[in-house]
């Protein structure tokens, strides 16, 4: 047991490696939120009238709402008037190419291992980098353009493809969907937009990298992915933030619209600053992610590796509207120290013969609380719908908690729904088995944890799987026995 404690100590003293800040000249809005701020953001972005109206409408709805109390997390009341809702790196004119981007900015992303210049050309990922609230650079635009794929920052899309934005913005997550979605709809500053035309298979992984840099700011970005009939895209998202004592708010919205036969794979490695080992600071990650499988035979797959954030509140969901459409959710959520996570998914089966699969693996250590909350709803029309859910929890240490809140609502008698969940620690017999075969305790634990999470990690694209495995190793290697 003493060895466990020692290892646990080690683990808890592990520093957050992306905790530095960069000195970039910023311009930001005054603190607080009111209609003027919304107008200010909209004016900054040079937005058309209809979008300002949309934002204002969202703001008015938000002002009437109260923040949700049902998640299994506790945090002090957030003062929404004490947050800066807009912060952007100062740039005189929009850069035409990477050469014109502030070198300090490029260095920031270089440091994160996200090179916006040379190397990525070799790895073949198109990146849209978002610092604080603004997209700073998007790579590989021309190459994607040849195929008719639109991949750019959200504000650019508003200027250049207003018809698409107007049609799909809010079509999956309505502005008044929930408290944080409404807040985002009012003040979102940038994000990524992606459109894959009919029958096009996107040849490379598209990626957004989010970074919060400025202090006291909230980050509110919005991602919109529209996959036209028969198209395919794999999308990656990564995030980090500097180490600060105060909590910072991140309230993003991701919308995916999949038409007939389209396939979208969305992967996240979330590594926001989780706070120090006393639970001070860290990001509040309150995110709304939802996909609409609008067309028949469409498919959306969410994969997430959640290691960061002081508090995670996130339910990537699928609305399976088209017949034979399918949704998948693979998740590994790791909490340590005083982190809290309330995460899961919703699978709403509307169309006939829709299928969904949920695999959720929670790992909690230290004083953390890790909850899975999910809903599988089979509507009356969803004949022959099929769902399989598995949510396992692994506990390390006797001060953490693992909780499961699955809701299963079935209204159709031809549906088959299965749910299973287990909670346990790494078994002594498993360790013993390994020891017997000459594998030392630490490697044995690594082996078992890796095996435990493998089902999810396997779903990640190559480039991300490496990062995720590294992250997992950082947080957990050798922490149990």
């Amino acid at each position: 047991m003493s060895k466990d404690n020692q290892l646990l100590e080690e683990l808890t003293s592990k520093e957050y490696e992306h905790g530095w800040t960069s000195n970039i000249e910023m311009e930001s809005a005054p603190k607080g939120l009111n209609e003027d701020i919304v107008r200010f953001i909209s004016a900054k972005k040079n937005e058309p009238e209809w979008l300002l109206e949309w934002r204002l409408k969202a703001y008015r709805q938000w002002a009437k709402m109260v923040d949700p109390k049902w998640p299994n997390v506790t945090y002090p009341e957030i003062n929404y008037q004490d947050v800066i809702y807009y912060a952007a790196p100062k740039q005189k004119v929009k850069p035409k190419s990477l050469e014109e981007v502030d070198p300090e900015l490029l260095k920031t992303f270089e440091k994160l291992g996200i090179s916006l210049t040379e190397q990525k050309r070799l790895t073949g990922i198109a990146v849209d980098a978002v610092l604080d609230s603004v997209s700073v650079a998007t790579t590989f635009k021309e190459k994607l353009g040849e195929l008719g794929i639109i991949f750019c920052s959200f504000s650019e899309a508003v200027q250049e493809h207003p018809e698409l934005i107007k049609k799909y913005l809010g079509s999956v997550v309505p502005m008044n969907d929930n408290y944080f979605a409404a807040l985002n709809s009012a003040v979102f500053s940038d994000g990524s937009f992606c459109y894959i035309p009919k029958d096009v298979r996107c040849p490379m992984e598209l990626s957004t990298y989010f970074r919060i840099n400025a202090a006291n700011t909230g980050q509110f970005e919005r991602t919109l992915i529209v996959a036209d009939e028969g198209s395919y895209v794999s999308y990656l998202e990564g995030c980090t933030a500097p180490q600060r004592d105060e909590n910072q708010l991140h309230a993003a919205v991701v919308e995916i619209y999949a038409m007939k036969g389209a396939q979208v794979k969305y992967s996240t490695v979330q590594n926001w600053y989780p706070g120090d080992k006393e639970g001070k600071g860290g990001i509040y990650n309150f995110v709304t992610k939802r996909a609409l499988c609008a067309g028949d035979h469409s498919k959306v797959s969410w994969t997430q590796v959640e290691t960061g954030s002081a508090i995670t509140w996130k339910y990537p969901s699928c609305i399976l509207k088209g017949d034979h459409s399918s949704g998948e959710f693979y998740s590994v959520a790791v909490t340590n120290n005083y982190q809290q996570a309330d995460t899961g998914t919703k699978m709403i089966h509307i169309g006939k013969h829709t299928k969904s699969r949920i695999v959720s693996k929670g790992i909690s250590a230290g004083h953390s609380q890790n909850s899975y909350r999910g809903q599988v709803h089979i509507m009356k029309r969803a004949e022959g719908a099929r769902n399989f859910s598995q949510c396992d929890s692994l506990l390390m240490g006797d001060k953490c908690g693992a909780h499961t809140f699955p809701y299963i609502d079935v209204e159709n008698n031809s549906a088959k729904v299965e749910h299973e969940a287990t909670t346990s620690k790494i078994g002594e017999d498993q360790i013993f088995y390994c020891l017997q075969r000459g594998i030392d305790e630490e490697s044995a634990v690594a082996l078992i944890v890796n095996g435990y999470a493998k089902e999810v990690l396997n779903q990640l694209p190559m480039e991300f799987a490496v990062e995720a495995q590294k992250l997992l190793a950082l947080t957990l290697e050798g922490s149990v026995g």
Binding site: H403, I408, D409, V410, K416, V417, S424
Partner: protein, 421 residues
């Protein structure tokens, strides 16, 4: 989790009707006023519109009609020699009851019993608050140490609604001394065709090495709306076997809470609901592991036909101290018709690391291949279907430890499933 309040005319009627008395009743009265009745946004009553059902079917101002039932023989359980306690319209029917006090002390409840009101929490559930403020009768069962009670005790909750609607508020307390054992059977029945609402709260204390077998039969063909809260506290090395069979009723809500407050405890919590018509059966169960080295096992199965609705919510808590806990829970459902629905929420909340806990839940229909297999062997469709459903239900039925009771439940289930083999 707080219950979403709704100030409704019904609530003000209830509150006006409750006399302000001293002590617990007043506290419960205040709690009810504060909690309000659950609306459809209330997490705990989301799928069970009990408030709406009460508003629609009952007038609180109406007093219970008096009853002249002569005999309840038609409601008795065949093949069982039991101490039977009968309540008719919320009144203890001394004349209809017959019991011996040889090895068990049975008396009408007074509200001053040791432990009264300590288990059923009226501060969080409005219906428990209502009961605590309004109970009119009930029974206290006490078993001294080292006694094995020979005859089971049957509690008949009878509504005689021929002359008008009935509302009954019953409160029971069961205390089982060290190394003793007793079997308690609850049964609901209605005479007459008017609506009846029963609100029954039972608190049980099972001391060291004692055993309680608790059966609940809910097969009331009348218009029964029911709320029940059963909370059992268990000391070390004690055992509880519970079985709830729900076949009929308009709306049945069972709250069942087991508190495992010692080491070496074994708890079995089983249930079977076979629903048809427009019955709604809602089982909310909680197993609360507070101390290490205890085992709990929960199995609820449902077969739902017609417009019926099944709701299941099973919570397992494992407190930080409760290391080496084994807690298992399973809920399986078969939907037979287009309009039947099931809402289930198996929930685990675990704060201890050295535990083995699992829950599983499935919803589906009869396997086509198995049906084909049986039909290919010359068994007609109706029989094949009955066979499979009977086998499905049999798994829970097999867990009943009393032979005559098992036989009785078996006949009820066979009849319901049209078993003809």
């Amino acid at each position: 989790m707080s219950v979403v309040t709704e100030t409704t005319p019904l609530l003000s009627d209830i509150l006006a009707d409750l006399k302000s008395e001293a002590g617990l009743r007043t506290a419960a009265h205040e709690a009810l006023e504060q909690l309000g009745l659950p609306g459809n946004k209330s997490e705990e009553y989301k799928f069970t519109p009990i408030t709406r059902a009460l508003e629609k079917n009952f007038q609180l101002a109406k007093k219970n009609p008096s009853s002249e039932i002569e005999s309840i023989d038609s409601f008795s359980i065949p093949g069982i020699d039991a101490n039977s306690i009968v309540f008719v319209n919320g009144v203890f029917a001394e004349k209809l009851s017959h019991y011996e006090q040889t090895d068990v002390f049975i008396k009408s409840i007074s509200g001053t019993e040791n432990g009264f009101g300590t288990l059923a929490d009226f501060k969080t559930d409005p219906f428990v608050a209502w009961n605590t403020a309004a109970w009119s009768t009930g029974i206290s069962i006490e078993v001294k140490a080292n006694t094995s009670v020979s005859k089971p005790i049957v509690l008949h909750y009878v509504h005689d609604s021929a002359a008008g609607e009935v509302k009954s508020f019953i409160r029971n307390i069961i205390r089982i001394g060290k190394s003793s054992s007793v079997t308690v059977i609850e049964k609901q029945d209605t005479l007459g065709d008017q609506a009846g609402f029963s609100n029954i709260v039972t608190e049980g204390f099972v001391e060291e090495n004692a055993e309680l077998s608790l059966f609940s039969l809910q097969a009331d063909k009348g218009k029964r709306f029911h709320f029940g809260q059963t909370t059992i506290w268990q000391a070390r090395d004690s055992r509880v076997n519970s079985f709830t069979l729900t076949l009929d009723g308009k709306l049945i809500r069972n709250n069942f809470l087991l508190v495992l407050d010692g080491e070496g405890i074994e708890s079995h919590m089983d249930g079977l609901y076979i629903l048809q018509g427009d019955t709604l059966a809602d089982n909310h169960t909680v197993v609360d592991h507070r101390k290490p080295h205890s085992n709990s096992n929960e199995l609820y199965k449902g077969i739902i036909d017609d417009n019926a609705k099944g709701v299941f919510n099973g919570k397992i808590y494992v407190r930080p101290d409760a290391q080496k806990t084994n807690a298992f829970q399973s809920n399986r459902n078969i939907l037979l018709s287009d309009k039947s629905t099931v809402n289930t929420k198996p929930q685990l909340e675990i704060w201890a690391d050295d535990v083995k806990c699992s829950h599983g839940c499935t919803t589906g229909q009869l396997d086509d291949e198995a049906m084909f297999y049986l039909q290919a062997r010359g068994i007609d469709k109706v029989t094949a279907r009955a066979m499979m459903l009977y086998a499905f239900a049999g798994e829970v039925l097999d867990k009943i430890n009393s032979e005559p009771l098992k036989k009785y439940f078996d006949t009820l289930i066979s009849e319901r499933l049209h078993k003809n083999f």
